[in-house]
Amino acid sequence: MTVKAASGQGFAAGTLNRSSPPLRDHALALLGRYGIYLFFVGFLLLAGLLAPSFFSRSNLSNLILQIVPLAIVACGQALVILVRGLDLSVSSVMATAAVAATSFSGHDADVLPIVLVALAIGVMTGLLNGFLVVRRNVSPFLATLATMIVLQGLRFGWTHGAPSGLMPPLLRVIGSGTWGFVPVNLLVLVAVAVPLATVLHKTTVGRRIMITGGNPLTGRLLGYRTDALTIGAYVVCSMLAAVAGLVLGGYAQIVDNWVGKGFELDSIVAAVLGGFALSGGRGTIGGALAGSAVLVLASNIVLLIGLPIQFQIILKGLVIVFAAACYAKR
């Protein structure tokens, strides 16, 4: 026995000798992991250089106000991407939650029911998405596209075409208030992202999601409740979208039918820029947050430099491709 153990050590040592990883590989691995943060910092510096008003406290606080809703959605989207999915219905959930919020009296007393209704909308949509994907084997792209359309129809039916009514003042404070220069909605993001990151990266449930996402069959044979984990990811994603809808609805007092328009694709892009692979099983919540920030920054810079709207769109496109080409390999 002792002899074998000794030779085992010798073997391991031999392997270590063989591994002399070139510096480049390490650099690439690090870039893959932390690229988004580098990009983010680089972007901040660039913005400061190009537009002196960028680092004004009010602009920074505005930026955060705008980043938060996208970041919340991106967190949920990331979760779904982790289990090899996609959720195109997030924007529709956002709008529906916001519309529901204005369907009450507009007083603070209604905030609790509003939040409950919004979350219920999220849970129901998430369950439907998850059911279609897991039980009926519908591709996530199509399943969530269909729920997106259905939800939009129901919303139109509910509002008779256009929403009306007011956001309760409390939601407005949450959506657009600041304490000093710290936006209140940052608290919401923290309240969402920190537990999510903890669960995902530090608990067994998170590990199960990671393994299931990377290889569903393996997850099943390990006794994980893979169906529940996958459906759960869709449910959490939709719930976060509902929360983001309330935050974004509170950001402007009046809600229209398209609160969150474009967030479905933006959130996917943010997650991918943040290091999530669309093939599942890889990524960190921090990356998704940074990815969202980079997207919003791109638009903000163009506005600050004073280029016309067209360049805002063009720059966004270039940032997406460039950033992805730098580090977000498939």
């Binding site: 075409g161 007092q253 039918n257 506005l303």
Partner: protein, 335 residues
Amino acid sequence: IRDTATYKKAPPYVIGFSNAGLGDSWRVVALDEIKQGAQDHKDVIKKLIITDAGHDDAKQVSDVQDLVSQGVDLLIVSANTEKALDPVVTRAMKRGIPVIMLDRRIASDHFVTYVNASDPMMGRLWAQWIVEKLHGKGNIVILAGQAGSSPSENRMNPALEIFKQYPDIHILDTVYSDWSPVKAKQVMQAVIAKYGHSINAVWSAHGLQVPGSIEAFREAGFKPGEIPMHTTADVNGPLKMAVQYKVPMLEVGDPPAQYRLAIGVALKVLSGAPVPCVVTVNSQIAVTPGDETPSVKGDLPFKDMIVPNGADDMLITNDLGPDYTPSTAHIEYPH
């Protein structure tokens, strides 16, 4: 004046209405207005068939074709974009179906008549007021609707012509709100971060996005009285805010009542009576007290236009009665 003798028919009529789409409160109220119009004349109207293109040109072209297939006697079209619907409307006219354009026309004049409140007039009036208020000197932000949408462009372009005549009027930025207060607030925040107090006026293409803009100013620390002048249309919220935060404001209405009027015009056409080539609905004008200029005076006291307890996005220019709210209304009409 257009002769419509060839379209003369005996009632009852089947009228088709191809709507561009819903999505904001203005268009919702407008839709209720046209239903109300059909209800008013249910003795001669057998059916009003309404299609909704969801702001999609391709679908609206299909819708028009489908309405023709269904054998309507007359078509009312509110064109999503003025060029895209041109060929299909022209074709319908060639087939002998009279078409009335409503609120959004097609580019050519292959229609019987065009019922609207004038977009260029609104845009020009707003611009004129700003110029006069600023005595021909100052910095302006254009808060447009959606890039490429016809009401936005049709209001903005005449306004720009006026601004161009004054060398000391500077357009700081043109930003697009997509008619959304949320988007408006986002873009205005960046604009305010850049230009701060040097902004003298905001020319807004409608009232839907104005609350977002005013909110952005308030959050940037502008006290009541410091927020620059805004232009607006139709919506209750901006008027309330104008009073609350002392924002100089010009309201030029784009009354959805034109939709109800369109039914009346349609019946005239079908009875063979001559109609004017363009039927313009008068806009109501209101200015915050003390902000009148030589060429812009209010029709109504500003205060009287506000519905103090009404929702911010409530339409103030409908004529469906005091109890009307879009979300509860249920209008019976023949269909």
